[in-house]
């Protein structure tokens, strides 16, 4: 009998990550799209780092940072009673960092594809930046919002290296589907590994199909990244 808890854990992790990234990504992408600060390029580079770094490198440094033996980890432990290594909150935080570019880049493309005078028209109608963002800009880039949300969700489901480094494989805690597949293969349970793998394959395909269908529907094909 297949144990569904790793898949359930993967979905939960992806949902948390996506929700946090939406809250974080919208203001960040907005700032990046309209700010002219010179050091903006550095921020963009840092955000995109997870796309080029081996996940193990990111996981390794996060492990060092979160470890209670390190100063940051000790601070969290002592002041907030929060342990991020080998825990679910640690996985969420690592996933947020790891999937950030998959939320930011579609949103940035969305903001940049909007005609600049929409923003100006809203200002001349007496509206605040906040009203403009929520009532003018975001409603006109729904495809980008959905693309960013779905891609960061899918990318979190598909992560392995970071999760392995920072979470290990504690059943029900940090043993997500991708890690479970690795474990089952290690113990030569190929049938079980195949079950997990098939579910992930089907899920990933469905999610990507959804993104493309949405983009076609809005008739504004946007690059994925």
């Amino acid at each position: 009998m297949i144990d569904w808890s790793p898949l359930w854990l993967s979905l939960r992790l992806a949902a948390f990550t996506m929700a946090i990234l939406l809250l974080l990504g919208i203001p960040l992408a907005w700032w990046l799209a309209y700010n002219r600060a010179r050091w903006k390029a550095a921020v963009e580079a840092v955000i995109s780092l997870p796309m080029v770094l081996p996940p193990s490198v990111l996981g390794f440094y996060l492990l060092l940072a979160f470890s209670p033996a390190g100063s940051f980890g000790r601070l969290l432990d002592q002041w907030f009673d929060l342990r991020l290594v080998f825990t679910f909150p640690g996985l969420v935080l690592a996933s947020v960092i790891y999937s950030l570019p998959f939320m930011i880049n579609p949103l940035l493309a969305g903001f940049r594809s909007l005609p600049p005078d929409l923003h100006e028209a809203s200002r001349t109608l007496g509206k605040s930046d906040w009203t403009t963002l929520f009532h003018v800009l975001l409603p006109n880039m729904r495809a980008s919002l959905i693309t960013g949300a779905v891609l960061s969700f899918a990318h979190t489901i598909g992560e392995f290296g970071v999760v392995m480094m920072i979470g290990g494989s504690i059943p029900g805690q940090t043993r997500v589907a991708s890690v479970a597949i690795y474990d089952e293969v290690q113990s030569t349970h190929y049938r079980l590994a195949n079950h997990y793998a098939l579910v992930l394959l089907a899920l990933s395909f469905t999610i990507l199909l959804l993104v493309y269908l949405i983009n076609h529907r809005y008739n504004k094909p946007k690059s994925m990244l």
Partner: protein, 300 residues
């Protein structure tokens, strides 16, 4: 500033200096003018002269090096005292050249969005009816024609009851017949809402029809401020017959050429020698003038 108490204060006082970076290089915009309440001012001049920049500075969308804007008793901009009212706090209506309608809102939605909070929504119905948009009120901008979009943009700009209406070449995307109708809408709105209006235009019939005053901008400076008739119809002084227009056709006929000149909605045909015609080309702006002659007046 000291005011002379015997003359009424003008509604709008505007002064600015700003470096313009245009395709033809850098140029200093150094402009000042005053405008009476309730009048319509046209800004006229070659492209790159700074017409749109002036509108944007008035709206607070573009920053200036130095500047001063007073509307009635309110100071919107005074760089010497570090006053710069943000765009959203200036009571203006701005009609953008390409309308800048919100793609996700219906016609009625655009107007309702423009209303300040807790204001009477009656003005929405009033504007929809005035601009003849009632039947289109539930449509989105993408399926409207250019003329309809223009009316929506105008209605949206007026919905919040601005003191100053700014129009950036509002009719440039429309054909002649549509322009004429929309000029009516602009005049109607200007009068019923007692606006002070500034429009950028390079189209003389429009300027004559709409404006009380014209400012001619050249090289970033005000060259003249006067009525359209005084600026463009010099024959008033020299009592010549004179029409300005654009050449739309040059046809050879025997040894001469017939040059057709479009002026407003009228076509004037003029005979020119082959040598004269050689110096002309279609699309050229010309003056057709005649000195000593007896004009014939016929009732229409």
């Amino acid at each position: 500033m000291t005011e002379n108490p015997t003359t009424p204060a003008p509604t709008l006082i505007f002064r600015t200096t700003k470096m313009l970076h245009t395709a033809s290089g850098h140029q200093l915009l150094d402009v000042g003018f005053q405008l009476k309440q309730g009048s319509i001012l046209a800004l006229y001049g070659p492209s790159g002269a700074g017409k749109t920049t002036i509108l944007r500075i008035l709206a607070g969308l573009t920053d200036t090096a130095t500047g001063y804007i007073r509307v009635g008793e309110d100071i919107w901009l005074d760089t010497s005292h570090h006053i710069n009212l943000p765009a959203r706090h200036r009571p203006i209506g701005f009609v953008f050249q390409d309308f800048a309608l919100f793609p996700h809102l219906t016609v009625r939605g655009q107007l309702e969005f423009a209303l300040p909070k807790k204001t009477d929504r009656l003005i929405v119905d009033e504007l929809l009816s005035m601009m003849e948009l009632e039947e289109l009120q539930h449509r989105k901008p993408a399926i409207l024609s250019g003329g309809q979009q223009q009316r929506v943009a105008l209605a949206r700009a007026i919905a919040r009851r601005p003191r100053l209406l700014l129009l950036d070449e509002p009719l440039s995307a429309l054909d002649d017949e549509m322009r004429y109708r929309l000029q009516d809408f602009i005049l109607k709105a200007h009068r019923s809402f007692q606006l002070t209006t500034i429009l950028v235009s390079h189209y003389l019939p429009e300027i004559f029809r709409l404006s009380d005053e014209v400012i001619v901008l050249e090289n970033g400076q005000v060259r003249r401020q006067d009525t359209a008739a005084n600026i463009f119809l010099e024959e008033k002084i020299s009592s010549k017959f004179r029409v300005t227009g654009e050449i739309i056709d040059i046809q050879p006929a025997d040894i001469v050429c017939i040059v057709s000149v479009l002026s407003g909605n009228n076509i004037v045909k003029v005979v020119a020698t082959a040598a004269e015609a050689a110096a002309l080309h279609i699309g050229q702006k010309v003056v057709v003038a005649s000195k000593a002659f007896n004009p014939i007046i016929l009732p229409l």
